[in-house]
Symmetry: C2
């Protein structure tokens, strides 16, 4: 298994290496001890992260060495190497060329059970991330004002994400009015108007490496009745999906629980994405809560439940919580209200 800097390396070793063009690569043989190939100047950071204490030998290389040949010498006569899913093509193809007779496959399938079932410590980290992003949502009323642009609001949110204890801002979506109908719209210079519904989907990375991700939809003043009607449907759908989570049910059944409520209300065509994604050291990881995924949920799995309804060109709504499967049900890690949050547009705080 060949693991370059990214979530798999962090998971396996606790070493948060900066992804660089210079090769850092953990070499894990099927039998025997693991080794870390790293640029000489990264060796102190790897040692400080406790890589050596794990019994992993560190092979530093100098600026003019060929680190791919060094990895190949450690792989020896193996016929298959499994590569970290996040390894970049520049390194995938350099490793292929350094070991042309070795078949490359993905390490994801080998690591998925380990990474998908969160330990008690990992759940504590995700819980802290959930509290931090909830704290940001509690401040959104101070930022959303008619006349401000999405970008101005987004800049305030980004600062609040850091102040809430995150180490990094991962994404800030402020979808006002018609922009709310594009689920992955980020920020624009559109000015928020009285009557706009606004989708706010935000997340960051905590110092632990674990991620937050939560969406709430706000109304700046009095939103159109058409909107408030389908918002109530969405709220029921999200609650139905969360309530359906427990060990033994399939991932797709949670998607179906949300979708059936929305379908019955006649908005099925407007719910244009899956219901959720796993979360941990990555914002999007397994399990995916989507039709066709018959993976059975197990205690310790963590994922988003985030149905949405989008009326193209007009407005949209999404409600998203991160939940963890417990031994007998579900725990929600996001706990701000699901009721439509109406912001008084005349308030100047």
């Amino acid at each position: 298994m060949l693991i370059t800097p990214g979530p798999d390396l962090l998971y396996l070793t606790g070493y948060h290496a900066i992804p660089l063009e210079r090769l850092t690569c953990l070499v894990v043989p099927a039998d025997g001890d693991a080794a870390l190939v790293a640029p000489g100047l990264e060796v102190p950071a790897a040692e400080a992260a406790g890589v050596g204490a794990l019994g992993i030998s560190i092979h530093g290389w100098a600026e003019t060495d060929n680190p791919y040949a060094l990895v190949a010498s450690l792989v020896r006569e193996a016929g298959i190497v499994a590569l970290a899913d996040s390894m970049v093509a520049a390194k995938v193809l350099a490793l292929r060329d350094a070991m042309p007779q070795v078949h490359q496959q993905l390490a994801g399938p080998l690591l998925r059970d380990l990474r998908m079932i969160k330990s008690v410590d990992e759940i504590a980290h995700l819980r802290a991330a959930g509290r931090a992003i909830d704290y940001v949502h509690e401040q959104i009323g101070d930022f959303l004002r008619p006349g401000r642009t999405e970008r101005e609001v987004g800049d305030d949110i980004a600062e609040a994400i850091l102040e809430a204890g995150h180490e990094r801002v991962d994404f800030v979506i402020v979808g006002s009015g018609p922009n709310g109908a594009s689920p992955h719209h980020e920020l624009s210079d559109r000015r928020i108007e009285v009557g706009d519904p606004v989708v706010v989907d935000i997340g960051g990375t905590m110092p632990s490496g674990y991620r937050s991700d939560s969406t709430r939809t706000y109304a700046v003043g009095h939103a159109p009745e058409e909107f408030t009607n389908y918002y109530r449907v969405l709220q029921k759908a999200q609650e139905a999906a969360v309530s359906s989570v427990r060990p033994g049910v399939t991932a797709e059944s949670v998607d179906a629980a949300a979708r059936s409520v929305i379908d019955e209300a006649g908005f099925g065509e407007q719910f244009i994405h899956r219901t959720g994604h796993g979360i941990g050291l990555e914002t999007h990881e397994e399990p995916y809560i989507v039709k066709g995924n018959n993976e059975e949920l197990r205690a310790g799995m963590a994922f988003s439940v985030e149905p949405g309804i989008y009326l193209s060109g007009r407005h949209g709504a999404r409600i998203e919580d991160i939940v963890v499967v417990t031994t007998d049900g579900v725990e929600s890690l996001n706990n701000t209200t699901h009721d439509l949050l109406v912001i008084d547009p005349s308030f100047s705080g």
Copy 2:
């Protein structure tokens, strides 16, 4: 050429796509028109970014489709595909398996001349990034205080990076005392002490997508004489390297210009990394300013000049500016003083 979300896609199309597990891929044939394969829910964002206006057809796919087969159908009978250097292994190997008879190579060599020579607009974006990070360095005296941890200082710096106009914080290195001797140390809970030299290397991404990166070394109170002596050597080395930049000289000659000053002063063994890296839509890109790179510098190239001297276990220093090669010399995009910045430890601002 197959280009997934990342700096190459942004460069070629202006589309800042979120890297997702779902496949988004620009397909550029050697002859004929380009096409963009994208998840259905990303199509509005791709259209908003002007992809359609470039004459690129957009092929949206539904959650249950196989997008790799769709890309293969667009590649048709090509014998070679060039992949974006930043494409992740999960997509590299899925594309390999969807087109087993097609040889994969890297797109980097095809795009390097385009991306390495910055246009007038790109230089303006880098200049704005340089001013923004200079503004953060001007505030460091407010953050560095004896008794504060590197992490506390780093959190303040991260907020200042956003306030200065960056859209994202890319890295915050605060290397105090012995941590300054590890060039890629980030942040720790070490408390800053009176007499510490502190290396502050920071950067972020502007709304344009272009990056900043600048290092200054500070002294909190009276630093050891051993340190101030080699700091003066470093300052001369950095200035010698910047002064050597002009069209027609090689990248390695700029490295040699810094290194010879440091070697002559007897600190050659303590300058443990190359002198610099290109910068643009990525923090590290070509050209690399390193021994062995005989690439001739051309007007429009942008890169860092950042020699350092590191005394393991004691302290270190680095000075880094981003410079652009002009038609007859060099322009520095970072312009805060290179003199050692001594912070009065008794000041409480």
